[in-house]
Point group: C2
Chain length 220, copies 2
DNA sequence: ACAAATATTTAGTTTTGTCTAAATTTATTT
DNA sequence: AAATAAATTTAGACAAAACTAAATATTTGT
């Protein structure tokens, strides 16, 4: 597969939001900042290779083979994002461009070893799920800490209250978006929550827990 | 710079062994497994971009600008090799192909951070020196441990005596080619040498020290 | 249902990097 | 110093992936 073919497959996958429905030529052209005629050319080629179902004027969807390819690219992209953030200390919002390049590196052994090295993460720094080698993965949902049960693990992906005071609190306690957080215990009495974050444990008040969004894997 | 241009620059650099002498069209074609006519085409393009000095029928050499480019690619290649061996546990002889791909990733920030993460290594797993960001680097030489002074650091790159007994000794003591080794102390009495390797210290006999080659940076 | 608007495809070019075959230059023999 | 051999370049062609402009389908509005 060429680099360009991989980019098309990935774009179709994302536009279909992981589902198999039909995507229009123009949607792909807009997303990829290219011309519709270029898209048509490529769709013919991908169709010849059995990666997409393409009917003239009727849009396109990924075949089984195309979906497997897409998931493998998504897996690589997200694993590299974890590497960049966890190991190289990139901020979660500056990794995309580099991961776009790294995702095209061809070596199954590399990805296996990287996965292990990173501790087989299930989500990337944006909280998006990482497909397994076999192409399986759970969907993720965004919920407030206060809405989640004990034992949940997820990634901090947003705040409800973006007041300066709250952001300052997060900063002082070294909680950043992109950090992985586990819910250890919930106190019925005052709604406070014990969490593990960045290798440390701490307790946060109900007020904090109701203002911080976690991206967690759907429970089935 | 395109991927292909980078490959040509790197090939010219390696064929000239880091020096500025003139390389023939056929030598490049052989090395890159391509046709001489393709090489001629590319040399014209690289010459237009001021990356090489090219005179028809007279061979080619890198310009200052070309040499800087080459060193930056070599730096990336070798840093990725260190990553693959030190962090992902690849064997030193299986990293080349993957590093050939990784060396083309474009991000200065990535390479800076990778360099730091790896502890700013001076040599790659083959013992070859890693150029600095500024393009400076020392040559390396291959010497027996017994020939080197206290304080030297280098990479194990070969054995003099490849008898089964010797290889078994290395294996039992978890010394592999590609490991980094520092000479801590030398005992005049029996020629034995204290070394640090793989985060451990150990003492080896004169006989071992005279059979294990280290690739070390030239002292000046 | 039909005209207008929009979406998509086709046809024909362009650029990059490659190739083959022919022409030219340089090197080597005798 | 020719003649031959080897190396190199030129000319012309091709495939991939993009583009523009024109043609054709589909959808929408009335």
């Amino acid at each position: 597969m060429t680099l360009s073919e991989e980019d098309y497959i990935k774009t179709i996958y994302h536009l279909a939001k992981g589902e198999g429905h039909s995507i229009t030529t123009n949607a792909i052209a807009d997303q990829m900042e290219t011309k519709p005629s270029s898209v048509t050319d490529m769709l013919k080629k991908l169709s010849d290779k059995n990666l997409v179902n393409y009917k003239k004027y009727k849009g396109v969807s990924l075949t089984e083979k195309g979906a497997i390819t897409a998931l493998s690219i998504v897996r690589k992209h997200r694993l590299w994002e974890v590497f960049l953030v966890d190991k190289l200390d990139f901020a979660w919002d500056e990794v995309h461009e580099v991961a776009e390049q790294l995702e095209h590196i061809k070596s199954d052994k590399l990805i296996d070893k990287l996965d292990n090295y990173l501790g087989n993460p299930r989500v990337d720094p944006h909280g998006d799920p990482i497909p397994t080698k076999e192409g399986a993965f759970k969907k993720s949902v965004k919920k407030l800490i206060s809405e989640l049960p004990v034992g949940c693990q997820g990634v901090c992906v947003g705040v409800n209250d973006s007041s300066a005071a709250f952001l300052k609190f997060l900063d002082k306690n070294r909680i950043s978006l992109g950090d992985t957080l586990t819910i250890l215990e919930k106190e019925d009495f005052d709604g406070s929550v014990s969490i593990a974050i960045n290798e440390k444990e701490m307790r946060i008040s109900d007020q904090i827990a109701s203002n911080l969004f976690l991206e967690v894997l759907e429970n089935k």
